[in-house]
Amino acid sequence: MTPASPVSAPVPPTRSSRSRELLRAALTKPGLMVGVGIIALSTLLALFPGFFAPHDPNAINVAAMRQPPSLPHPFGTDMLGRDAFSRVIWAYSVNMQMAVLATVFALVIGVVVGALVGYYRGLADIIFGRFVDAIITLPFLVLVIAVVAVLGPGLVNMYIAITLVGWVYYARLMRAEIISQKTSDYAAAGIVMGYSDLRIIFRHLLPNAITPVIVYWMTDMALAILLGSSLGYLGLGAQPPQAEWGVLIAEGRNFVTTAWWLSLMPGIAIVLTGFGFSLIGDGLADLLRPRG
């Protein structure tokens, strides 16, 4: 789970021993291990839903509408007679994809932009500062909803919308880290050695500055699932008949008293996955926190 840097950094030879040490420390953190376990399992379900789901998630069966849980249908059936268990499993691939694709581009863009403006400062930094201020004073959810409404609902457009708004938060974090790293001894050493700016930024400063960004990324993935399912609940996310947890809860919300299992299962899936990401984020923060 150690964050991989894009370019191998020329840090002291203690690096590999430090990774080993980190790994050993990680193994002693039960929270982190539980988180890794949950996410590993979720990833497995997301990659091979067909293997775990007993039924076709979209097969309508008018003869078996809204059945209570039974052996062939462990979570019962929905209002179209579709197997609720299979739909929750298939939703793993949508929601896990959401966690990654809604955040990873924001992460990359944010890291690059944040590193550059943090290193060079100047006019670009001033403009960037105004832009960040403008975005963070606007309501996040409203911006995303508006962008989705402009582009049209759907998963891809939702990712674009979240990325358009979300990269700013990564960039802000990265910029602050780079500014504080820039004053460090090894950055000064790099400059004395006559290394190129890009080399200093991406091989020297970045690997050290990226820890809080990675920690934030973990939390953000949990948030992305929440946000994505909120949009799904409002009908702006995943498109029918695709199963997605927010959509499943929306479909089941009229039956909370009569067929509670329809909304409870996707609800648990959201909480569990978010829990997994939060545990990893928390554990990493603990693990990578500078000592002393």
Partner: protein
């Protein structure tokens, strides 16, 4: 001491419980009503959206009204009315002693003011419906309406919300330079005086709540001989979320919750504290099919061939749709152009019965290449639309259609409908007037709305429509509408789907509440039992 008090209270409660249900219509009480959306401005001519239109009748009376059994027109504010043999003059005599809710009399001058306002195209979006009126004059209790040409719908129009009578004096007194400003000011101020309906507006909070108080001068009497309404007032709360609205009713915080999702009808019907009402409506749900020769992107449109459109209709199991989406509370459309309760509807049952074999033949004759992608545009967040999509996708796979979904919000769907950037999209309609002309104009008459955005154009149909608009003989007019329905069914510019009732859940204490087929909420005979 404490104990005796308690015992007395129990006795009193018991006594109330025993005598309560005996009287059929108790007087008094405030009915609490949970709405799906709020009114913005309840004024006969500025009411544009259903939540406004459907409340007009509670605050304003019309000259005529439709008998409750739908049989014909009777006088409301009018004591009597007559139409000349050439159809170009209508004489109306107002009732004696009718008053606005502040006690001032309703006079011919108010009627002239109201009708002039209603037919002024600069003010009213509905003025087109009164285009035949050339003048309105009045004196004392007599009003004369003159028409430039005979109009078979004109009497119906006098029973429609947009011709409801407002007080001229109230408008003259209201602040504001224009009629719009005066109307908004009157609505914002609330209080009695603007109309002569069973209630007057007594409170309004934008997007949150609205309240009505009984009009003590209402012209209609109840079963006990005293003026209606039975209620002291009605309080509306806006709860857009379906599930929350129902919870509010179940918790006893409101007495009525409207627009119950069909999936919950069976469950609520078994609750002993509730009554589940399915009021017959003129609402139809259908899907316009783009009939243009090319799609918006310039590629040839496989749906331009009418055989393909017919095939899609045959390939759709409407009975199954009704059971999946409406849970049985509704029926497939039987007239291609209107609900079965709209006057002059021709019933064809089944209209395109489920026949996948015939559908496949027609698909091939129409040159539809198997595996072609067709896009169904649906409303984001609509559970019904999601179900319709899932069902159609499965049904149409059998005839070689690969159906893909596109969810959009309502204004986007409206824009796509107008620009023709769609293959098929879901849509719905509720009549505003008790006459087929409005819905037929909307769905089929090309000059009105490009035949509901489908781009379909049929010369015979358009001519029939124009002829029927001036046809005073009811039988000949009905014949024109019959022919239009034949043409439309054959051409299939729509996926004909189903009719739905208005599903309303009421507490067991409520009696006499009605939602009309046009959607209007009628509280005048509603009462609460305590």
């Amino acid at each position: 001491m404490k104990k005796t008090l308690f015992a007395a209270a129990v006795a009193a409660t018991l006594a109330l419980a025993l005598t309560g249900p005996l009287a059929a219509q108790e007087r008094g009480g405030t009915l609490k009503f949970a709405r799906y959306d709020g009114s913005k401005l309840v004024d006969p001519i500025y009411a544009e959206r259903n939540p406004d239109i459907w409340m007009v009748g509670s605050l304003y009376s019309t000259l005529l009204e439709r008998a409750r059994d739908g049989s014909g027109l009777t006088g409301a504010l009018a004591a009597s009315f007559s139409q000349s043999s050439d159809g170009k003059t209508i004489d109306i005599t107002l009732r004696d002693g009718i008053r606005f809710s502040d006690g001032s009399p309703v006079t011919a001058a108010d009627v002239v003011f109201s009708l002039d306002r209603a037919r002024n195209p600069d003010l009213s979006p509905w003025a087109g419906l009164l285009g035949a009126i050339s003048g309105v004059t009045g004196e004392g209790a007599k009003v004369t309406i003159t028409l430039s040409r005979p109009d078979p719908t004109i009497l119906s129009m006098l029973a429609t919300f947009n011709t409801a009578i407002v007080s001229r004096a109230a408008f003259e007194k209201a602040p504001g330079a224009t009629d719009q400003e005066k109307s908004a000011a009157l609505f914002a101020a609330g209080g009695p005086g603007a109309g002569s309906g069973p209630f007057y507006l007594s409170g309004f909070e934008q997007g949150a709540s609205m309240s009505f108080k009984a009009n003590p001068y209402y012209w209609k009497s109840g079963a006990d001989g005293k003026p209606l309404p039975y209620l002291e007032g009605v309080e509306f709360q806006i709860i857009p979320d379906d599930a929350t609205r129902i919870l509010k009713l179940q918790a006893g915080e409101v007495d009525i919750a409207e627009f119950i999702p069909f999936a919950r009808i069976a469950e609520l019907g078994t609750d002993p504290n509730l009554q589940m009402e399915l009021f017959p409506s003129t609402r139809i749900i259908y899907s316009p099919i783009n009939t243009r020769a090319t799609r918006a992107d310039g590629t040839p449109n496989p749906l331009a061939d009418k055989r393909v459109r017919q095939a899609l209709n045959y390939a759709t199991n409407k009975e199954a749709l009704v059971s999946l989406v409406l849970h049985g509370a509704g029926a497939p459309m039987t007239s291609p152009l209107m609900s079965s309760s709209t006057p002059m509807a021709v019933k064809t049952d089944p209209l395109y019965g489920y026949d996948p074999v015939k559908a496949m033949e027609l698909m091939q004759e129409g040159g539809f290449a198997a595996g072609t992608k067709i896009k169904l545009t649906t409303l984001a967040g609509s559970a019904d639309d999601a179900t319709v999509f899932a069902a159609l996708q499965q049904m149409w796979t059998a005839v070689g259609v690969e159906l893909v979904a596109e969810q959009v919000d309502s204004p986007t769907r409206g824009a796509k409908n107008r620009s023709g950037e769609f293959d098929i999209h879901t849509y719905g309609w509720v009549d505003d007037i008790a006459d087929p002309s409005q819905v037929v104009g909307w769905l089929g008459h090309t000059p009105t709305a490009k035949a509901v955005g489908t781009g379909w154009e049929n010369k015979e149909f358009n001519e029939l429509y124009d002829t029927a608009a001036a046809e005073m003989d009811p039988e000949r007019r009905a014949a024109h509408f019959r022919r239009m329905q034949e043409i439309y069914a054959e051409e299939a510019p729509l996926l004909f789907m189903y009719e739905t009732p208005f599903a309303v859940a009421l507490s067991a204490k409520v009696t006499g509440y009605v939602q009309t087929p046009l959607g209007a909420n009628v509280f005048e005979e509603a009462s609460l039992q305590r």
